[in-house]
């Protein structure tokens, strides 16, 4: 479903007239695999395989998924640290898909990135002052009152002392280093910040400090965030909308509350159910947990049709052949699924579960399966149901 269609059908809850800050259409990134004597290309890792989304001004878009789902690649594509293999990226109405390094330079002021590893991303031989003032030098910007004063202001902004200006990264703890990374990213007053696992290397108490800091800075500076993380609790806390990725595709993109309250894609549901809840009394509710069968398939040869069909307990024939589009089924809720949870079935005539789905279903608690569409009894009388579908 194209972007314009969606917006025409259901206007976004805010910024109706304003165009999104970032618009991504059919974005693809493939990494070639070479093999054999002549190092011929024999295939490609389809890291990101045709995704559409937009980031609205001032919002936080959370991107979740398991390792290898392509979320980090996506982050590097939209900041143009990587060259897309296909599709289109528009930032503030400007096509930046294939801009050269030089062409991107002015935009680097607007788009910044924060990395996971606060150790690896700071040059150990440079002082904090040099690190945070680097963006000014690269862009040839002379801030009001001089670089040093501005850098000290930034250090204060992220909760460090201006006296830290002449210190080196190794003198700081992990949380402080992440603050330095944030100060550097904010130096040029960017409009969009892409943060790839910004807090996952930090301790819980420090993680909360950084999450709050990012929150405050967003309010203060009107930032737009794309936050990529594997921790669903953190993503829930920080995001307005959330995209769930699986094997290079967005399988669900919805408002935060509706996604957590009523996930529509079975994968989202499984993902949410797997998060350990810090509430021992809910341990009895373990019965709600959906265990997924096996491992994530290889992104070199992803399954046909819906990519999740090999592990899904609701997969039917249509799931193996037809790839479900990411369709807006309800306001603020897009999902790519033929048999969504918490919504009416998109392919009600197709009720015969795959063998694999039946096996997968054994790992899914009764309560979850009952809530879904084809129940045991329905399957046993599949012929009649099929007839009814024909009649309809």
């Amino acid at each position: 479903m194209s972007e314009t269609d969606t917006r025409a059908a259901v206007p976004a809850p805010r910024d109706d007239d304003e165009k999104p800050l970032l618009k991504v259409e059919g974005l693809v990134k493939q990494f070639p695999i070479k093999k054999g004597l002549l190092q011929r290309q024999v295939g490609a890792v389809k890291a990101v395989d045709g995704i559409d989304f937009e980031v609205r001004r001032g919002e936080t878009l959370g991107v979740v998924g398991e390792s290898g789902c392509g979320k980090s690649t996506m982050g590097r594509l939209i900041t143009r640290l990587l060259e897309p293999s296909g599709g289109k990226i528009e930032f503030d109405g400007k096509d930046i898909t294939h801009l050269s390094t030089g062409g991107m330079r002015p935009l680097r002021r607007d788009i910044q990135m924060i990395f996971q590893d606060p150790y690896g991303s700071l040059n150990p031989r440079h002082t904090i002052g040099t690190i945070v003032s680097a963006p000014f030098k690269l862009q040839g910007v002379e801030p009001e009152g001089g670089v040093k004063k501005e850098v000290q202001r930034l250090l204060e902004l992220v909760g460090l002392s201006p006296e830290h200006y002449n210190r080196y990264p190794h003198e700081f703890s992990g949380g402080q280093r992440q603050r330095i990374g944030i100060a550097r990213a904010l130096a040029l007053k960017p409009r969009m910040v892409v943060a790839d696992e910004p807090v996952s290397a930090l301790d819980v108490s420090i993680q909360a400090q950084v999450v709050n800091l990012m929150d405050d800075l967003q309010d203060e500076l009107g930032l737009t965030y794309v936050i990529i993380a594997h921790d669903l609790s953190v993503v829930r806390h920080v995001s307005d909308r959330i995209a769930v990725m699986y094997l290079g595709k967005i399988v669900e993109l919805a408002d935060r509350d509706s996604l957590y309250a009523a996930p529509m894609h079975p994968y989202t549901k499984a993902l949410l159910s797997a998060v350990p809840v810090p509430d021992p009394r809910r341990r009895g509710a373990k019965s709600e947990r959906i265990l997924l069968k096996g491992d994530v398939p290889s992104p070199i040869a992803p399954p046909s049709g819906c990519r999740f069909h090999t592990r899904c307990w609701k997969a039917t024939q249509v799931c193996t052949t037809v790839e479900p589009p990411l369709a807006e089924l309800k306001p603020g809720g897009r999902v790519a699924c033929h048999h969504p949870e918490n919504f009416e079935d998109q392919q009600p005539q197709d009720v015969v579960l795959l063998t694999a789905a039946k096996e997968a279903g054994e790992l899914v608690p009764e309560s979850v399966r009952k809530a879904g569409t084809p129940t045991e009894t329905e399957v046993s009388v599949e012929a009649e149901v099929a007839d009814e579908a024909d009649d309809n």
Partner: protein, 364 residues
């Protein structure tokens, strides 16, 4: 578990060596110090706890709190290798009636892997990259069992099958890098369980794994514990994980235990300000709350210069509540505050109850 309350009173007091341990695993006043050029690193500084067979203890803390050092101390791994000479250990570790701290290293070695086994955080780096997964498991079995390679291999396949690895008779000949993260951790668990250990220590067993795989591994550990009846120590920074799996929780800060008790008490009636801080720092997936998180201010303590008095006092919002600056001068003892629930805090019982019910709980 009822025996615990009997010995519980002894916690924090000087322990006499001749005291017979009553629990399956009993750690008494354990200290693990490392002399360095910068000073003495007091990684663990007076830790005591007990654990019965069939039960799970969750040790929670942030990096540098001493939780991993504790687990390696129980396994007797600090004394090995080039750095083994440097470590200073004192206190007692009783495993099934045997004292390990003062024991002959070779005796501890014979227990290691057989009576007590360990699972590590990153299964990729914890397995030798040059050897087949199967032969690493076979090795673990043959250290303690005088059997042929063939018999050991059969045992390895059996264990791989038990931990849910498909086609175990083929995967047994695979190399670690050919396994996915989850499968690798399953193989690690198979390796740890190959000798039916009575004590299983899992150090951040799911931290390197994806959430769906984490759920599988936690389920597996729980099932295997039921089946083997072993005692499990699970070390993690993730309160969600301990809430899922632990019977008791021990919260560590700056090398010491600040709070210990049954899982429900720790989550619903936590007594120590640091535990409150942990709970407040944690974004919750199970609650629709959009408020700000309540982080613990400041940075974790240096283990060389642990703050005097209560190690948490520089970060504690209530450090000035008790009189006479006591939080900065006197180290708080671990005291029982309810059935098997202990905390090391200078705040009075009334203050703690008041702060928890009035200030902390409503915001969580």
């Amino acid at each position: 578990m009822t025996e615990l309350s009997k010995t519980g009173a002894a916690v924090g007091e000087p322990v006499r060596a001749q005291d017979a341990p009553t629990a399956f695993l009993e750690v008494r006043d354990l200290k693990v110090h490392f002399p360095t050029d910068d000073g003495l690193v007091k990684s663990v500084d007076g830790l005591s706890f007990q654990l019965e067979k069939g039960k799970t203890l969750g040790i929670v803390g942030e990096s540098g709190s001493g939780k991993s050092v504790t687990s390696l101390a129980i396994m007797g791994l600090h004394r090995l290798g080039a750095r083994g000479k440097n470590v200073r250990m004192s206190g007692e570790i009783w495993l099934d009636g045997k004292e390990l701290v003062g024991a002959d290293p070779d005796e501890v070695r014979r227990l290691r892997g057989r009576d007590m086994a360990m699972i590590f955080q990153d299964p990729l780096s914890a397995m030798h990259p040059y050897y087949k997964v199967g032969s690493q498991i076979v090795e673990a079995y043959r250290v303690h069992h005088d059997v042929s390679k063939k018999v050991a291999r059969k045992r390895a396949i059996e264990l791989l099958d038990r931990v849910g690895i498909p086609e175990p008779d083929k995967r047994v000949d695979g190399y670690p890098h050919e396994f996915s993260g989850g499968m690798r951790q399953r193989a690690m668990i198979a390796m740890a369980l190959v000798n039916n250990p009575e004590l299983l220590i899992a150090d951040e067993p799911t931290t390197a794994l994806d959430v769906t795989v984490q759920a599988q591994i936690l389920d597996l550990i729980r099932d295997l514990q039921k089946e083997f009846g072993s005692a499990v120590v699970i070390i993690t920074h993730d309160l969600g994980v301990v809430a899922e799996i632990a019977d008791d929780i021990l919260v560590m800060y700056g090398g010491r235990c600040v709070e210990r008790g049954p899982v429900d008490d720790i989550f619903y009636e936590p007594q120590h300000p640091y535990t409150w801080g942990l709970l407040g720092s944690m974004p919750r997936i199970d609650r629709a709350q959009t408020d700000r998180l309540i982080p613990v201010k400041g940075q974790p303590p240096s283990l060389i210069n642990v703050p005097s008095g209560c190690a948490f006092n520089p970060r504690c919002p209530y450090a000035d509540v008790p009189k006479d600056n006591i939080t900065r001068t006197e180290r708080p003892e671990l005291r029982e505050v309810g059935g098997r629930h202990f905390t090391a805090c200078h705040l009075s019982q009334e203050d703690r109850t008041r702060i928890w019910t009035e200030e902390i709980a409503p915001k969580l």
